[in-house]
Subunit: 452 residues, 2 copies
């Protein structure tokens, strides 16, 4: 190879990958009865030298729950022209330029701005750039972030629309403080991991018997917090929460999650009716867009905490949730907003307001990604895991090359370079929709057409 | 034909239509320098009896500004399965059921919820249903709405997430009051039309000379309000606004529009710097998601009014803009939210708060659609046009079968049945992307590939 050649991103592949999860009951909640966890999976190809693991590539994905994954895939493809031809050195040195370019396309911006399908597509491409950069640096993303200089990290953030609350100078100050003592916290993270909580006991589809069994198992497995889905039927929820509380005892936290099911009045009444069993937080009590509504719920249900974030579409809404004192717990999602850069902005906002971050995970691949962000936050930003837990759901991890590992109720720190975002090749060839081997056989066998 | 047969929606066509508007300067603002006005155009086909104008169909579209229109088109196609096979009688009798079904698809909901590409797709299909229903009723949409019973109209609204502010009973009460005297207002509308304002003088790409000429022409044409785009350069804006003010005199209102260009501090400083020339409102001073930011701007720039809405993605955000006293002027858009049903909710919220609605229009087809909503509001809801004007931009109307007509500064009330949403067949065959006759010749001639 010509040593003077500048390695470049040569192509962007996008694959529609779907898992038939709706055929089991796991994953059911009051708003999402039958999700087929899916990914609009993106691969940035380069002509950089092959490393020990093959050609240098960046992988990531947008997460969806089935129908419409083809729309999400089309949205990622619409970004292709902004990425092909970019210098690998340049994007690795400054992923923020890619983030700004993608968010700055004035025609595509009309489709949001910075929300919905188009913004999740930006997030997928930006996260793939971070996977590429971390692989090239030979570090997991959490470590790449934790090792970075505060000034460089601060430059990764787009302050547009949040500068009234968080300036670059504020960010640098927070990151400098966050660096103090980071070596000790990194060592602690590597030896002890990061606290997790589990949603596996609490899906709506479970019988009370299964709920009790899984809740007890969760405590035996070392979890100090579990979560129950609520919102379909109040009497059922009162009984299920009592049942769970009896199973785990008074010292294990039980979060409840309504998945946006309620109006404001319902949210308040329902949560207060559950209060007898001491729920720790009520999650997504209403529309993720309703900042003032969350604030009203929070005032009315204290001391039960209010948590939200998995559907909060960008840093501007998170800024206001904090300004309005609408949430006690901020739940980032790795694949909803515009990727690592915007999540860095959100972590900085949370740190500025002193609100704990408890990431949303589950689905497919969300546990794999989001642990990197929480671990960076612990090592080099907030500096604490007090009242912080990462959601854990025990499914679909086997499809990843660097799967999430939870042991004794704690996420292990990943050590492989990259963002843990790569699916195994055989997973993609099996679950690619509609022509992967699983779907081809399934759709043929059932006489369905492939139209979704 | 079997007279017992139930007519049904037999198919949904979606067409990617793009106009090469970026090749002229019209349409340029601080955020959107080169829009190619486009439509993800939807046709609901039926097997109902042919009327005098041909087969009964429903037409509408989502509006975009170019790149990504293929994503928007894919989003409309994803809704197809919910619509094909529905009874024409049933959807015409209750478009709200279609609206609820489309918004209620739990898997597609993940892609929003109720925002961005997927929500605009819902809006396009719902608006096509209203076109179908109005054609079948032999009335323009504004008249169909104005003639409807308050209880039926109230049932067209989804109160989820707004019930804390607007209940069904509130809606019925507002609509009953709105009915009083509606016959007189309808007669007035038919003879006098509805006030318009024009943005044509104020695009950023215009020279000062062109600005003066077009501003004077607007006044001569009967407009009592014009609008200037601002936000690229403060000194330029101060000069342009002075120039426009000198051209039109003190009695013509001049709105200014920043198209989301600013942070909060900038918005306040910039607007206050323009205050010497008495701007009527500042439009989109910052992110459309920033409810609290708009409220802060409003407090700091009074008596200049704050207007927003063309990018506000649903009723939940409008509810909060009103609750937070963040806006003086609410700007609905016919093709951003979930169609007529959600715009009915937004008009009701505005009426409940007593905030005037001044619809956003322009682009392609937005003037054609949105006049129906404002005219219904005048005849049968707010009952007034005081401080209310519909935006008018004089381009691309020739592509519609029932084009917007503005005369002496006022929109004429449309009389043709339907939503005025149908493009001429020759427009579609010319501007279909990438294979319509214009694009095929253009893309071949310039040796471009067809990838966007």
């Amino acid at each position: 190879m010509d040593s003077n050649r500048t390695p470049r991103i040569t192509d962007v592949d996008v694959v529609d990958v779907r898992f038939p999860t709706s055929r089991e009951l796991d994953g059911s909640d009051a708003m999402n009865p039958d999700p087929d966890y899916s990914a609009a999976y993106v691969v940035l190809r380069t002509d950089a030298d092959r490393g020990p693991d093959g050609p240098l590539e960046g992988h990531a994905f947008a997460f969806t729950i089935g129908r419409g994954n083809e729309v999400q895939t089309a949205a990622v493809a619409a970004l292709r022209e902004h990425v092909v031809g970019l210098s690998v050195d340049a994007v690795c040195a400054d992923p923020g330029t890619v983030s700004r370019t993608l968010n700055g396309d004035s025609q595509l911006r009309w489709l949001g701005p910075e929300k919905g399908v188009m913004h999740m597509a930006v997030g997928a491409v930006v996260n793939a750039v971070w996977d590429l950069a971390a692989r090239r640096a030979g570090k997991p993303v959490w470590k790449l972030l934790a090792d970075a200089e505060p000034e460089w990290l601060a430059d990764q953030v787009d302050y547009r629309y949040i500068e009234d609350t968080l300036s670059r100078a504020d960010a640098v100050a927070l990151l400098r403080t966050g660096k103090e003592g980071s070596a000790g916290r990194e060592a602690h993270l590597r030896s002890h991991g990061y606290p997790a909580y589990t949603t596996s006991p609490g899906w709506l589809g479970h019988s009370d018997q299964k709920l009790v069994r899984l809740a007890k198992q969760a405590v035996a497995d070392g979890f100090t917090q579990i979560k129950l889905k609520v919102g379909a039927d109040l009497a059922d929820d009162v009984r299920r929460l009592r049942t769970a509380r009896a199973a785990v005892g008074p010292d294990v936290r039980i979060a409840v999650d309504a998945n946006q099911r309620w109006n404001i009045g319902e949210a308040i009444d329902w949560t207060n009716a559950l209060a007898e069993s001491d729920p720790y937080w009520i999650e997504e009590p209403t529309s993720p867009d309703d900042i003032l509504g969350h604030a009203a719920v929070r005032r009315a249900v204290a001391p039960v905490k209010v948590a939200t974030g998995e559907h909060v579409h960008n840093r501007v809404v998170f800024k206001q949730l904090l300004q309005a004192e609408a949430i006690d717990v901020l739940q980032i999602d790795a694949a909803r907003v515009g990727g690592v850069n915007e999540n860095l902005a959100i972590l900085l906002l949370a740190a500025a307001f002193g609100v704990p971050v408890c990431p949303h995970a589950g689905g497919v691949g969300l546990c794999e990604l989001v642990r990197h962000l929480a671990m960076f936050d612990f090592v080099a930003l907030s500096g604490t895991t007090d009242d912080r837990v990462i959601e854990y759901v025990d499914h679909l991890h086997e499809h990843f090359e660097d799967p999430a590992v939870v042991s004794d109720g704690r996420y292990t720190a990943p050590t492989m370079p990259g963002f843990s975002s790569r699916m195994r090749p055989e997973t993609i060839s099996t679950y690619r929709y509609p022509d992967g081997s699983f779907w081809a056989a399934d759709l043929t066998g059932q006489g369905k057409d492939t139209r979704i």
